[in-house]
């Protein structure tokens, strides 16, 4: 690693965790078109499950991580159920309700540290070596982020990804084409929840091993949405581009924390208005459209 500065290493790890979160959100929101605001709550469920499993049950990180993902996956299926009947803003409201209630329950549960937070979550160990520095944690976070990106590429370029896009485009036409709409909605919610669970667990075990319910508010959800929208909603690279850029911007503007919601909110609105497919979409536009133009021109010359 070139980054010697401990703080920079911390930021890189946060970027990697956010990449996992955003790639997961892009599956359900960007590809399957389900407007969910519950993703941040799923990350909280993953984080706290991992914390509890490692501290109260004394299991190592390597067991806590898959357990957290499993629990979050199940929670994701539950978050997905309202999508059978609700769409758009209504679905957003329903999932927001679920998300806020998760945070409120955590804040009010003393055994989870309540509003003060959950402390002393152990770092991962390899043998007797603790990966408790940001520098060493990098070697846990980065492979998982890369693996997450790889899996998302496989899913989204397969028939599963196409079925997701068909849902986003037109559920009725998708059903008439033989797509089991409910099944694929649940698959999208569960897959994205597995990502949230993984990211949540990674956050929990990262130094200083501390969780606070305030890290899972609507502000964090808006930041997450910004990553996906800005990076390119429904673009295979969207989550990655967005997570990297937004995390860096987030870090550079720390001193203006109080304005962040307003700034991020406006950037989302502006992006949706003027760059609806985000940065990923713009890149495609320039690279790919040129080819279609060429086809068109060749055709019109021929006729």
């Amino acid at each position: 690693m070139l980054l010697k500065n401990n703080y920079h290493q911390y930021v890189v790890n946060v970027i990697a965790i956010n990449v996992i979160l955003a790639v997961g959100l892009n599956i359900v929101k960007g590809f399957a078109g389900q407007v969910t605001v519950g993703h941040i709550a799923l990350a909280a469920i993953g984080a706290y499950t991992s914390a509890v499993v490692s501290t109260k049950l004394g299991l190592p990180f390597w067991a806590a991580l898959p357990t957290a993902m499993l629990v979050t996956g199940l929670a994701g299926a539950i978050v997905g159920i309202p999508s059978f009947r609700l769409e758009g803003a209504y679905l957003a409201l329903a999932t927001l309700g679920l998300a806020e209630s998760v945070r409120i329950v955590i804040s009010g549960t003393e055994s989870l540290g309540g509003a003060i937070g959950y402390e002393n979550i152990p770092p991962p160990f390899i043998g007797s070596m603790a990966l408790d520095a940001h520098r060493s944690y990098y070697y846990v976070v980065m492979p998982l982020a890369l693996l997450g990106i790889y899996f998302s590429f496989s899913i989204l370029s397969s028939d599963i990804g196409r079925a997701f896009k068909a849902l986003r485009e037109d559920q009725l036409a998708a059903a008439a084409s033989g797509v089991n709409v409910r099944k694929y909605k649940i698959i999208a919610f569960v897959l994205s929840a597995l990502y949230a669970g993984c990211a949540g667990s990674l956050k929990a075990h990262m130094a200083p091993g501390f969780l606070n319910p305030n890290d899972y508010t609507i502000t964090e959800m808006v930041t997450l949405l910004l990553m996906v929208v800005f990076g390119g909603i429904g673009h295979i690279w969207g989550g990655v581009i967005g997570a990297v850029l937004v995390t860096i911007i987030n870090d550079l503007t720390q001193d203006y924390y109080q304005y962040r919601m307003a700034i991020f909110g406006s950037v989302i609105v502006l992006t949706v208005m003027f760059m609806p497919r985000g940065i990923g979409g713009m890149i495609d536009h320039h690279l790919v459209r040129r080819r279609f133009k060429a086809i068109r021109e060749a055709k019109s010359r021929a006729t």
């Binding site: 028939d159 599963i160 068909a166 059903a175 008439a176 033989g178 279609f292």
Partner: protein
């Protein structure tokens, strides 16, 4: 009978959009459905394809199975494909992807192997892409495979909607006004494609069509709807002479002889 519909009724609030309709279609037939705007033609298709559920007492039997209570995707996978009056192609997806979604029910790999990106997924993808490219070539859209479907022209969109339905390898194809609002040249292209597909794949067709000429030339049997009811059924020649059809279609203001002349010229 490939399709046997009995006692089909659908109400929207106080409006009876489809009323007590029976319909029987033989394998290999081309069955026409005509009727004025709002007579329940599209609703009939929505009922057969499971988009709407009929009122109790109805039965829809397809290929020996009672599909009345099936979900739309189950009906589709069982061999009933349809197009929509407003097409509903996936404009944000490529032309080839539209066909691949049509072929979704016939793609053989599971979610787990797709997630890990296993070898058989790639092999299967290659196979179905080749197959769908062949179908694209058949409907004349092969050059546009990678283009977003939303950028196609009106006539090309109709062909794509047709292609997506055919990608399901259906036994029965329901076409909702496949030639509406097209230029005469494009009407010819779409109809020729429909008939070529029928011949190639041994399809059974039910066609809703506004352009009488199309129906009269291509269909063996025609059912006429008015206010949700089937008011006549028979060969195109017999339908042309039916006075109830003439009234339904052109109103009572015209002289009978005028109407007859109009229908004959169709």
């Amino acid at each position: 009978m490939l399709l046997e519909v009995k006692n089909l009724t659908k109400r929207f609030g106080g409006l009876t959009a489809v009323s007590n309709i029976d319909l029987a279609v033989k394998p290999g037939a081309v069955h026409g459905i005509i009727g004025p705007n709002g007579s329940g033609k599209s609703t009939l298709f929505n009922l057969i394809s499971g988009v709407y559920k009929p009122e109790p007492g109805a039965s829809i039997v397809f290929d020996g199975d009672d599909i009345t209570d099936w979900e739309p995707h189950e009906i589709a996978r069982h061999g009933v494909a349809r197009t929509f009056q407003l097409l509903r192609i996936f404009s944000g997806m490529s032309v080839l992807e539209n066909l691949l979604i049509g072929h979704h029910g016939l793609i053989r790999y599971n979610t787990a192997s797709a997630v890990i990106g296993s070898r058989n997924v790639w092999a299967e993808e290659r196979r179905v892409r080749e197959e769908m490219m062949e179908l694209l070539a058949f409907i004349g859209l092969a050059d546009y495979a990678d283009m977003p479907a939303g950028e196609l022209s009106g006539g090309q969109r109709r062909l794509l909607a047709l292609g997506r339905a055919m990608a399901m390898r259906p036994k029965l194809l329901l076409l909702d006004e496949p030639a509406a609002s097209l230029s005469p040249v494009n009407v010819e292209i779409v109809l020729d494609t429909v008939l070529a597909l029928k011949k190639r794949f041994g399809l059974t067709l039910i066609i809703i069509e506004h352009i009488l000429k199309v129906v009269m030339e291509t269909c063996e049997t025609v059912s006429v709807l008015e206010h949700g009811e089937k008011i006549a059924e028979g060969s195109p020649a017999a339908i042309k002479e039916d006075h109830r059809v003439i009234e339904a279609y052109l109103g009572k203001e015209m002289e009978d002889s005028e109407v007859r002349a109009l229908l004959r010229s169709a």
